[in-house]
Subunit: 342 residues, 2 copies
DNA sequence: TTGAAAGCGCTAACAT
DNA sequence: ATGTTAGCGCTTTCAA
């Protein structure tokens, strides 16, 4: 237990070769004679030798892990993004470090500090800081990063996002097609681009239908959680000219809303129709399954990881062309919005 | 951009001191004169110097990150465990690497290999491999680890778990107290200790009530997911002497069950009462909120992290006494089981 | 195909 | 309080 850790030189000595040969047998197997290699591997096995990643990294200057910084693992949407990214990274032989910023710019900055010290191979980040300032250190250190779930026009950065304007339009178009003429938008923090874009999309749909903007009644929330959805339900029910349909900025809100309406004896979709956003698994697992705007979350994670790896592969990031990929959302219609009105 | 990375010697030169002093100003601030330190820090700032963690680690032999290997982030229960662990580790200034084994022993083994190469400070693991063999390399490398959510009798390892026998008993006691005399147990893979323990607890409750063992009718599932819960519902409804109450091995199953029953027009809790397990947030967010056995998930993660850090602190793990902490579950009664029968 | 040797950037022991 | 210096374990020329 207290035995000194076995290093490459121990293996070399036992196998009767030089350390360089041992190293080669790992990193350039072709350049070492098969029987030599076999002998070395046997010794490795016998001694239980494990490469020191820190030594390799110090020598080569780059680590074998990529970091993924998400806002909140409590939202299954981000879990799905993480899964997609993790699979892609592991397929490339890299480890993934999943971290949570809890939507806090300071936490984000702290993690970015950690990542630079670790000299991670790259970072996938769903930004918590709208200014993007907390990502500066990455650029300074030359650590490639890809922004996920947010469109970045900046030509210096790759990003993968989903067209939220289209998503908002899809949701409200559907509601209007069902005959609704008063639609609530249970939104979230206004500083989130996603929230603004979805509203924009909603308004587009309304304009396209020749309806006035005030057809949409926004009910902002601070947190986009189930609890916030319940709160919003109370506000909705207190409204004078109560909307007959609700577009929620995510499924957590929608789930909270649906539950509160049920408790209040308000029928979904007969009295109030609901459309959520993200299409998390739980959205389809409730008594009245939720219509939702599906985002290709896993695909987004996968793509982001691939773009990151491509960028990291280019030495010094030279000749790398930054791209912004925008994926399209899709409306998944279920019971919660299936009721014609008017 | 292509500028050579700035190292500690650059800082030393610019500040007109030696590298040792720069190092000290970071690691033993008290041993360097305040004004010297200030000057150094200014240079650090100006040059944008970032410590190389790999160099530190190579020198000191230990990294500043702990790994957390869970079965599946898609289950909010594990997310909660992860959150508790992450908070505790970060409070101690350590980074956390969250990874998913997808219940696969081979994935688990692969990650363990990664962790040994990284020489992480320690590992928190919810084991996927019931034999525990895939954790062997950790022991060989002297990397401390704590087993989470599974009781390990082995005196060589710390573990934090929840008393599943008590949980099963709690659930079924409650159901029996409501008057139920035919109870189904929608379980999971029999190789999971948790599944067996919860059944044992259920049978204890039944025996204590003076009822025969066949009062409990087990419906096994392969995956413990929402979809599996729906499937189980179909089997339940096909049963000759249909149980009036169901104990589910987790909330995902319970949610799927409840939805399928609703679709089939079977009233919960009037016709079938349901008790779930884990008390994930979604359990309380459905129309008919789920009674569930609450596990102190975050607490488990927090405790495990603390035990890990304690073990890692003891040099060479010498004089460290391994402990197995068993936490107690708690029944949270909600609507899904609130109906007296018989 | 293999060996010898020079560092990668840092910490810590020791010297001043 | 500060400077000097020897490695940590590995990869990678360069020679043989």
């Amino acid at each position: 237990m207290t035995k000194k850790t076995v290093g490459i030189s121990d293996v070399a000595r036992e196998a009767g070769v030089s350390v360089g040969t041992v190293s080669n047998s790992f990193n350039r197997p072709d350049s070492v004679a098969p029987e030599t290699r076999a002998r070395i591997l046997a010794v490795v096995e016998r001694l239980g030798y494990v490469r020191s990643e820190s030594a390799r990294q110090l020598r080569t200057g780059t680590s074998r892990i990529v970091a993924l910084l998400v806002l909140d693992l409590a939202n299954p949407f981000f879990v799905e993004v993480a899964n997609g990214a993790e699979r892609a990274a592991r397929a490339a032989g890299l480890g993934v470090m999943v971290c949570t910023s809890a939507q806090s710019p300071s936490e984000e900055a702290e993690y970015v500090g950690l990542f630079t010290e670790q000299q991670v191979r790259g970072v996938l980040v769903i930004p918590a800081d709208p200014t993007g300032r907390s990502l500066e250190p990455l650029r300074r250190q030359g650590i490639p990063y890809v922004v996920v779930d947010r469109l970045v026009e900046d030509a210096e950065v790759c990003s993968v996002s989903v067209d939220d304007v289209a998503g908002g339009r899809l949701a409200v178009e559907h509601l209007l097609a069902q005959g609704h003429r008063r639609v609530a938008y249970i939104s979230g923090p206004a500083h989130l681009q996603q929230i603004r874009d979805r509203r924009t999309g909603a308004l587009h749909a309304i304009a396209a239908a020749g309806l006035p903007p005030h057809t949409l009644h926004e009910l902002p929330t601070a947190h986009m959680t189930i609890a916030a959805g319940r709160d919003a339900a109370a506000r909705l029910l207190g409204l004078a000219d109560r909307p007959t349909a609700v577009f929620c900025a995510n499924d957590l809100l929608a789930l909270g809303l649906e539950q509160a309406l049920y408790s209040a004896g308000v029928k979904v979709p007969e009295e109030v129709a609901i459309v959520g956003y993200d299409d998390i698994e739980f959205a389809s697992a409730v008594a009245v399954p939720l219509t939702s705007v599906r985002q290709p979350a896993a695909e987004m994670g996968r793509l982001a990881a691939q773009m990151l790896l491509a960028e990291a592969a280019g030495d010094d990031g030279i000749d790398h062309e930054h791209r912004s990929v925008v994926l399209q959302p899709e409306l998944v219609v279920r019971t919660s919005s299936l009721h014609r009105v008017g």
